[in-house]
Symmetry: C2
Subunit: 322 residues, 2 copies
């Protein structure tokens, strides 16, 4: 069976591809990795091909699906900030691109692949209780979240009609996100760990008491791999679900940093309260009831210590700068 | 101010148009009534123009919006059964048609009309508790319900972005639906009252204990009229809401018929259990918490006696056949 990963040049997509190439799930015979820029081909135990795919190009999407991969992992998206800044581009890629993919699958006769869709906790919108119940409504407060919620609905309907076998994973905020600090409002959750671990300063714009819902890149890769193995009949008609995360305050994150890298690392965090970021973050989920996903075997990170340790191992070659 | 009613040849649309023409809300100076077939022009206190509008025709939608009506009531839809039978047509009208309308509004500079969207309790899908809470998730089990839920998300995002001022009304099942019995699975809820009141037999395919969520055509017209007057800022970001209905069992409906038209009318109901309809109906909402709409001033029917009386007055000229 062949797996098509769309969005394989992205942070999660690239790590998932590398993980699958090195240690393929049973039955996987080949990987095809595509993105708007050609992804790198990881070395591994199965043949890997790479290519360029723009989800706004219907003919290209149809061609990608015509190879009839048994599993399609769809991670491609315009990120939240850009989808908010460019209304049309966000809908064109995040919603219409997803729909184009589902329609291309529907157009293939006698074909019913497994489709694993990367959704997000951005489908939720405040106000909500401290723990968001499994059956809580989706009231996104961004165009990105709206596009993800609309795509979830479409995925469920195409599944119900028998065109494909879909599952949507509502990913927590990814922490520790590797790479340079970015301007995303959520960036500081990663910055305050990643930068001090590398011996650099980081800015904390919110209070230590702020609580949020996190998953490591490793846990996220694990969610997608588990979704490849899972019997999706167990989902019934409700095809998208909250992934298990780790609910932690900024103070708890900082204590994990202290345990891993000492007081010197913690001193690299500079507090610069930012009322705009504080207000944005106040509208975000702090904790989700993910018992459905847990019962289906999806696994969260064990602790923030484990998240920090995984980052040091995967991104820093096991070495803390301080 | 001008009001554009899209779907004005339909059952609710026609009654709303007649009601507005006869007794316009303050500020309404003209009505434009459109549908895929040209609607009748009701007599009234304000000028009424009529026309044909196909929501799959982007140029026609743009032309309809170019007149810059202050209020747009969007009731046009392919019904549930047809949207299930014809996947492409349902999406083309119910979702893409709605999106085309919202996009045409967005394309008009300095224009922010009130948009009142007819949604449906079909956005909910079983399993659910006997009373569906206000914050319950939308997990539709039909393509029609999916299209309505996707349109609700789009309406909220276009409102949030300031392109329009939207509200979505999740209508209960309309009872007593006038006209001939149809093949809709929900048809019997109306048939068992309307037909005996006219001296004709009706078939009841489910048990007397089946409970459902109803609103009369009069109540539905009232919802749309109230949505024209309401300060939509009071909705906050959550722009669609459950309309208040009357939760009643089939037995309660029959007792209302008996009080209005006697035992002879009730004897015209023939029990013919239908396992297919029984199974479909088992997946439908029995009662909703509509306290949000009630707090905003939307009003349900007082009783099934009132629903029957309104039908006799509005549709039978006050005369029961028996």
């Amino acid at each position: 069976m062949r797996v098509l990963v769309i969005g394989a040049a992205g942070m999660i997509g690239g790590r998932l591809a590398a993980s699958l190439a090195a240690d393929p799930e049973p039955g996987i015979e080949a990987l095809t990795l595509v993105d708007v820029v050609e992804p790198a081909a990881p070395a591994g135990a199965v043949p890997v091909s790479t290519g360029v795919l723009d989800l706004t190009d219907a003919a290209a999407v149809a061609a990608a699906v015509a190879g009839r991969p048994g599993v399609i992992v769809h991670l491609a998206a315009i990120v939240s900030g850009e989808a908010e800044a460019d209304f049309e581009k966000g809908y064109a890629v995040n919603f219409d691109g997803t729909r184009r993919l589902l329609e291309a699958i529907r157009a293939e006769p006698d074909y019913r692949p497994r489709v694993i869709f990367a959704s997000s906790i951005a489908v939720y919108g405040a106000p909500f209780p401290e723990t968001i119940p499994e059956e809580f409504h989706l009231t996104p407060l961004t165009s990105y979240g709206t596009q993800k919620a609309m795509s979830e609905l479409l995925l469920a309907d195409h599944t119900r009609r028998g065109f494909l076998d879909g599952i949507g994973l509502r990913l927590p905020t990814i922490c520790i996100r590797p790479g340079a600090p970015n301007k995303a409002a959520s960036g500081f959750f990663s910055n305050i760990l990643r930068e001090p671990l590398a011996g650099r300063e980081a800015v904390l714009p919110v209070d230590d008491t702020v609580r949020h819902w996190h998953a490591s890149p490793r846990a996220a890769v694990g969610f997608f791999r588990h979704a490849m193995r899972l019997d999706l009949e167990r989902l019934g008609a409700r095809r998208s679900l909250a992934m298990p995360g780790l609910s932690a305050t900024v103070a708890e994150q900082i204590e994990a940093l202290r345990r891993a890298a000492g007081d010197e690392a913690v001193r690299l965090i500079r507090r610069e309260p930012d009322p705009v970021i504080r207000r944005i973050v106040a509208g975000w989920a702090t904790r989700l009831d993910a018992s459905r996903a847990l019962a289906l075997g999806f696994a969260a990170d064990a602790s923030f210590d484990a998240i920090v340790a995984a980052h040091v191992e995967d991104e820093l070659g096991g070495r803390i700068a301080l």
